[in-house]
């Protein structure tokens, strides 16, 4: 719609300064919204910093990508914003993956419940492997197309991998502990699966530095499955996570850390420790 009448300069200045009463203000606003010429005359009257701030805010909302749900929840719990951006790019922290992990754990727990507590193997098999697979999916050459940039960035590849590892573990930890508490069997089972999980993670990282994450995760998963299957041959249901075995896992973790440290000191790729 075109119009020949335009808002007077003084009136426009008063409108921009917020000095008009509600009725006159609303009338001017109605007109300015429809009249390009008056809108153009408004522009020099508005503080450009205010405009820039408003525009930045709009672009922020439109341009910055939405964080996946698990990362948003972690933000609520105090996760720093820059770390959230990094974690959002990791496949294993996407909503779909986390839901998948929860489903796998739930089915394993269901199998234990249906077996009436005689059989803990499904839960003991799945619980330590979920974080291991999650870390493998968030790590390494094939999984991380940005590898070349990660290696040369000041943030550091090792730090990124460790942050992701902790994040993956943290994302499944509460749910797994909760399931463990409700399962038939001893209550300490809720924490016992952490032993092998914590041992298998450095093992995965150490192996990955030789053969890459894909092969490494397969080796670790097969190894742990063998341990759990072995326990099915007449051993107590809790055998894979009993004290003696936990010591073995601790030794395995320590050994893997030593291997990682040795690899990092000899590696000729600058900064590419893992």
């Amino acid at each position: 719609m075109t119009t020949t009448w335009h808002v007077h300069d003084d009136l426009l200045a008063a409108y921009v300064a917020g000095r008009l009463d509600a009725i006159v203000g609303a009338s001017v606003e109605q007109h300015v919204a429809r009249c390009a010429e008056c809108r153009a005359s408004t522009t020099p009257l508005v503080d450009p910093r205010l405009l820039a701030r408003g525009w930045d805010g709009i672009r922020d909302a439109v341009e910055s990508p939405a964080l996946p749900l698990p990362v948003r929840l972690a933000r609520r719990c105090g996760l720093p914003e820059p770390t959230a951006v990094l974690l959002a790019a990791a496949t294993s922290l996407r909503t779909a993956w986390v839901v998948g992990a929860f489903l796998a754990l739930s089915f394993a727990a269901l199998a234990v419940v249906l077996a009436g507590g005689e059989l803990l193997a499904p839960f003991l098999l799945v619980a330590p492997l979920v974080p291991v697979i999650g870390v493998a999916a968030a790590y390494g050459h094939q999984q991380d197309p940005l590898e070349t940039l990660v290696v040369t960035a000041p943030y550091g590849r090792t730090r990124l991998i460790l942050v992701r590892t902790v994040a993956v573990l943290a994302s499944v930890l509460p749910f797994t502990v909760l399931l463990g508490l409700f399962l038939p069997g001893p209550a300490w089972l809720a924490a016992a699966w952490l032993g092998p999980a914590v041992a298998l993670l450095p093992t995965l990282l150490a192996l990955s530095s030789f053969v890459g994450p894909r092969v490494a995760v397969a080796v670790v998963a097969l190894g742990w499955s063998a341990v759990v299957l072995f326990s099915l041959r007449g051993l107590p249901a809790t055998w894979p996570v009993e004290a003696t075995q936990q010591l073995v896992y601790l030794a395995l973790a320590a050994m893997s850390l030593v291997v990682l440290a040795a690899r990092s000191s000899r590696d000729r790729r600058i900064g590419a420790v893992l």
Partner: protein, 290 residues
């Protein structure tokens, strides 16, 4: 102090010597690296980008040693922009998301400042309006520009660009040249390319690498001058001793090197002619005779 100082830098992969005791220094300005595939260009750039370490020799970046302490390495990396030859993009990232991810890796921790910087570099490569588009939906040239944008974050003092013009159309290449020449005044830009026209249009200095050694290091004009009197135009097929020759669109033969064929008219050499002559027999690895 130069931005980049390389002394007797050697790097081998198995039995292949990718770089053989290379001495080079770079400071402000745009330097072009030319050389056939396997000449050691990418290895050299990766060493300067602190992606790999040299086997032997001394590397100084901004006066610091990248093989030194972790703190020293991090200091260097804060002043470094790197565009690798090949870069993957997580499928569902937007252009903005991709550059922002790298910005976080480069320690832009303040959200507001980071977003402004991401926007600035995207505008600089002409992708301001495509910020919200997924990288997987962008064309090859646009993707290359997204990759370039991340290298420009924070106005680095050393900018390492491995074949930045691959996949760009002539207009985009011209735009990129404008961006890079503006940057060259402020930082050391090191770029490798197969496009001699880019080097001729953009670089104050050109380094020709072949077989892991430096064959030429000087100005573009000096490199072109080495071919003076060795390039001809003639009507007949040239003799077999010409280094390369091809029939041009006008029907005449452009002959580089060898003895001048009968009736040949000397012509002004291009940078490409000089480059091919510089490589000599190695040139055939670059361009087979037409």
């Amino acid at each position: 102090m130069n931005a980049v100082d390389l002394t007797a830098v050697t790097k081998t992969y198995g039995r292949t010597r990718a770089l053989d005791a290379v001495d080079l220094s770079f400071d402000r300005g745009v330097t072009g690296l030319l050389g056939p595939n396997g000449a050691g260009k990418t290895t050299l750039l990766r060493i300067v980008a602190t992606s790999i370490a040299a086997d032997r020799g001394d590397v100084r970046l901004l006066g610091r040693d990248p093989h030194g302490s972790h703190a020293e390495l991090t200091e260097i990396r804060r002043e470094l922009g790197y565009l690798p030859q090949e870069l993957g993009y997580p499928g569902d990232m937007t252009a903005f998301g991709f550059v922002e991810y790298v910005a976080v890796l480069k320690e832009w921790n303040d959200r507001g400042r980071r977003h402004r910087e991401v926007r600035r570099v995207l505008e600089l490569v002409g992708l301001g309006d495509l910020a919200t588009k997924r990288v997987s939906k962008l064309s090859g040239g646009q993707r290359r520009r997204v990759a370039l944008a991340q290298a420009l974050l924070g106005d680095p003092r050393i900018l390492v660009l491995d074949e930045p013009t691959t996949g760009l159309d002539p207009t985009q290449r011209a735009d990129l040249r404008r961006t890079l020449s503006a940057l060259g005044g402020r930082c050391a830009v090191l770029l490798s390319t197969h496009q001699t026209e880019d080097v001729a249009a953009l670089c104050e200095r050109v380094v020709v690498l072949a077989g892991g050694t430096v064959r030429f290091d000087g100005t573009v004009t000096d490199l072109v001058a080495t071919a003076a009197g060795r390039v001809w135009l003639c009507d007949d097929e040239p003799g077999t001793d010409a280094l390369v020759s091809w029939r041009t669109g006008t029907g005449r033969h452009h002959v580089v090197g060898g003895t001048p064929p009968p009736g040949a008219v000397p012509t002004d050499p291009t940078l490409e002619d000089a480059y091919l002559l510089m490589l000599g027999a190695d040139a055939h690895a670059v361009r087979a005779p037409a």
